[in-house]
């Protein structure tokens, strides 16, 4: 029995030896093929990339930036620089309808625009209307926008619903909102007025006494949205510790809004205040949506007037120099006013960085 065991163990040992031998042979074969494959790889592939020199890295960086910026800069030069230089040149030209060419005419267009703005009974009141609508937007729409952003940021009850509804007008097509508003005011508001005993309810959108007010109301009414989001975004960056400190001190919401929130988002506010100055001259209210190119002259603003001189149904090449002259004059006024506004806001506004 013991001999059999010994015999078996000899067989097992022999088998193990053979197995080990085969393993070693297989490993040697694998190593051989691995060496061959490495040798083939080295022969067929490029040598390992050298560490690039500083100048080569810089060259590739510059090439990358050229690829990145060439197109936007080209568009900037064509769509902004060239267009504006051409606009200045156009100011001093007049269109010859018979020959179909522009010719130099000196200050004729500027004189015409100035005289229209000063003495034309239809055009001169437009400037006043533009200023008043800007003032209304600044005094009512602008503060409301920040206050609404603040209460949404504070997550008051129903803030989610308020945020959605305030944001909707900037998402929905302005034409859709205009048409809904127009039909609602035309058909429902008079019926409500009549129900309250008014005998001849006015047509709010076409009565000259109310139409301009309605335009201003509408502009503010649909004007929340993207600004609201940017204000809320700026407010959400205010460190919690500052707000919590105020809460521990027991300040009211209004005080927190006035003394903490406003100074902390002042930079964002400055952007909208400063860039909004130009809207005195470009602001059209919603006249184009409501009336197309035929808005009553009694409610037209300067921005609308010049816009429809260029794209209106009766607009021709002959109107372009006049519009360009208006643009140049307004730029000469708007640019210093904007810079002054910026300087004032930075000089007298709160200076908080966090």
């Amino acid at each position: 029995m013991e001999n059999e065991k010994k015999k078996e163990s000899v067989f097992v040992r022999a088998a193990k030896a053979v197995k080990n031998g085969l393993k070693k042979a297989w490993a040697a074969v694998k190593k051989f093929f691995y060496d061959v494959s490495v040798a083939v790889y080295r022969k067929t592939h490029k040598k390992p990339r050298k560490i690039r020199s500083y100048s080569a890295r810089r060259r590739s960086e510059i090439l990358f930036l050229v690829c990145l910026l060439a197109y936007p800069i080209l568009i900037f030069f064509v769509g902004y620089v060239y267009v504006n230089i051409n606009s200045v040149l156009l100011t001093f030209q007049t269109y010859d309808i018979d020959k179909g060419v522009f010719y130099w005419s000196g200050l004729t267009n500027i004189k015409k625009v100035l005289s229209d703005l000063i003495s034309d009974p239809v055009i001169s009141p437009m400037f006043g209307r533009s200023l008043s609508s800007y003032a209304i937007r600044m005094l009512i729409g602008f503060p409301l926008n920040i206050i609404f952003a603040y209460v949404i940021y504070k997550k008051i009850p129903f803030s989610g619903l308020f945020q959605i509804v305030l944001f909707l007008p900037s998402i929905i097509s302005s034409m859709v909102v205009t048409l809904m508003f127009k039909n609602f005011v035309d058909y429902i508001v008079p019926a409500v007025f009549s129900a309250f005993g008014m005998k001849n309810p006015p047509n709010l959108l076409f009565d000259y006494q109310t139409a301009f007010g309605m335009q201003n109301f509408y502009t503010i009414w649909v004007g929340f949205g993207s600004q609201l989001i940017l204000y809320s975004g700026a407010m959400s960056r205010i460190p919690d510790s500052i707000v919590e400190f105020g809460e521990l001190e027991g300040i009211t919401m209004f005080k927190e809004f006035w003394h903490v929130t406003i100074p902390m988002i002042w930079q964002t506010i400055t952007i909208f205040l400063v860039t909004g100055v130009a809207t005195i001259f470009t602001g059209q209210l919603a006249l184009f949506n409501f009336y197309g190119t035929n808005a009553p002259t009694e409610i037209q603003t300067i921005g609308y007037y010049f816009f429809q001189r260029v794209v209106g149904e009766a607009a021709t090449y002959a109107d372009y120099p006049y519009a360009a002259a208006g643009g140049l004059l307004f730029t000469l006024v708007a640019a210093p006013v904007t810079l002054l506004a910026r300087w004032l806001l930075e000089k007298f506004g709160p200076n908080v960085e966090f």
């Binding site: 510059i62 930036l65 990145l68 910026l69 197109y71 936007p72 769509g79 902004y80 504006n84 606009s87 156009l90 504070k154 997550k155 008051i156 009850p157 308020f162 959605i164 509804v165 305030l166 944001f167 909707l168 998402i171 929905i172 097509s173 302005s174 034409m175 859709v176 048409l179 508003f181 039909n183 609602f184 058909y187 009414w221 989001i229 975004g233 700026a234 960056r237 009211t252 919401m253 809004f257 930079q267 400055t270 952007i271 400063v274 860039t275 001259f281 470009t282 184009f288 197309g292 260029v310 090449y317 372009y320 120099p321 519009a323 360009a324 208006g326 643009g327 730029t331 904007t338 910026r342």
Partner: protein, 319 residues
């Protein structure tokens, strides 16, 4: 054991945060309702919500009324729900344009297709252009041209040039690009405006260490931009792209100014309000047309609401 402890700690942390959040919310609610300033604002907001939703709901209900039903019953629900108003409007919503082969009617499907083509193309060009320029300005400040970009945008915003539309149209006429949708889309590739500032603030806020680690591993500049930085800024990219798309989709004035013969759906609505075709010139039909234009945007808004209303910041004007 350690993992369990960590999980418990994390859960406890989340729980504390939730309780803290709830407490804070209820505290805000309590203090909010006691202060006159807050109550006035709350009432104003409630009025705003009512004033905005009333015309919207009224328009939706009226779009299902018949012409006579609308005249007799302006406030209530329709006597009979006229679902056929929608197909009728869809069928008649068209614009007549001048092509090389003469006049041609462009119907609703093509108007939608045109709007999609223009909006998607312009959004891609605009967003990409703003994004990459802002990235270069924010992260390659060692080059003069990149350093100049941010102040340039600020200066352009601060120095408003008013009334260059006439010059722009003259240029388009001169080079034969007027009424050319592809050219107009490519012209959207500038970098001026608020979007640039938002992207700039975003890229400034992303740590450059990710990029440096990638550079050490041998990544190229393009690879860092497209596989690291843009994915990290994806929230901003998506929000701005969606807002830009919506802006282009809704922009009906582009047909009035630049593309008279490439009509889009929102412009069709503008012309539709002056429509005199007897069968569809009633108020319910006009309101049905409004709903048709409104619907896709409302769907996009509801789906991407959180992305659209996410936190966007523009930084400051100190260049």
């Amino acid at each position: 054991m350690t993992t369990e402890n960590n999980t418990c700690a994390a859960m406890a942390d989340v729980g504390t945060k939730l309780v803290k959040g709830k407490k804070q919310k209820s505290k805000i609610r309590k203090t909010f309702m006691r202060q006159p300033f807050s109550i006035i604002i709350f009432v104003l907001l409630v009025f705003y919500v009512i004033s905005f939703l009333s015309p919207l709901i009224w328009a939706f209900i009226c779009s299902f009324k018949s012409r006579t039903d609308f005249v007799l019953n302006k406030f209530g629900l329709p006597e009979e729900w006229m679902f056929e108003n929608y197909p009728a409007v869809f069928k008649e919503l068209y614009i007549r344009v001048l092509t090389k082969s003469g006049f041609k009617n462009v119907y609703a499907w093509q108007l939608i297709g045109n709007a999609l083509f223009y909006s998607i193309g312009s959004t891609l060009v605009t967003t990409t252009s703003h994004c990459i320029t802002a990235y270069a300005a924010a992260r390659y400040g060692k080059y003069l041209i990149c350093r100049l970009l941010y102040p340039l945008v600020i200066v352009v915003m601060l120095l408003p040039i008013v009334g260059s539309l006439a010059s722009e149209l003259q240029m388009l006429h001169t080079i034969g690009a007027y009424d050319n949708v592809v050219f107009l889309m490519f012209m959207k590739g500038g970098f001026l405006g608020t979007n640039f500032l938002i992207f700039y603030a975003t890229f400034k806020g992303i740590s450059w260490e990710y990029a440096e680690a990638a550079f050490i591993d041998g990544a190229s500049h393009a690879r860092v931009l497209f596989t690291i930085m843009i994915p990290l800024a994806m929230t901003t990219v998506t929000a701005l792209a969606l807002l830009t798309f919506i802006g282009y989709w809704n922009d009906w004035s582009v047909n009035v100014i630049y593309l008279p013969n490439f009509p889009m759906i929102s412009y069709a609505l503008y012309t539709f309000q002056n429509n005199t075709i007897n069968s569809i010139s009633s108020v319910p039909h006009r309101l049905a047309a409004c709903m048709i234009v409104l619907f896709p945007i409302l769907v996009i808004f509801l789906v991407f609401r959180k992305k659209l209303m996410g936190n966007l910041t523009v930084g400051g004007l100190k260049g």
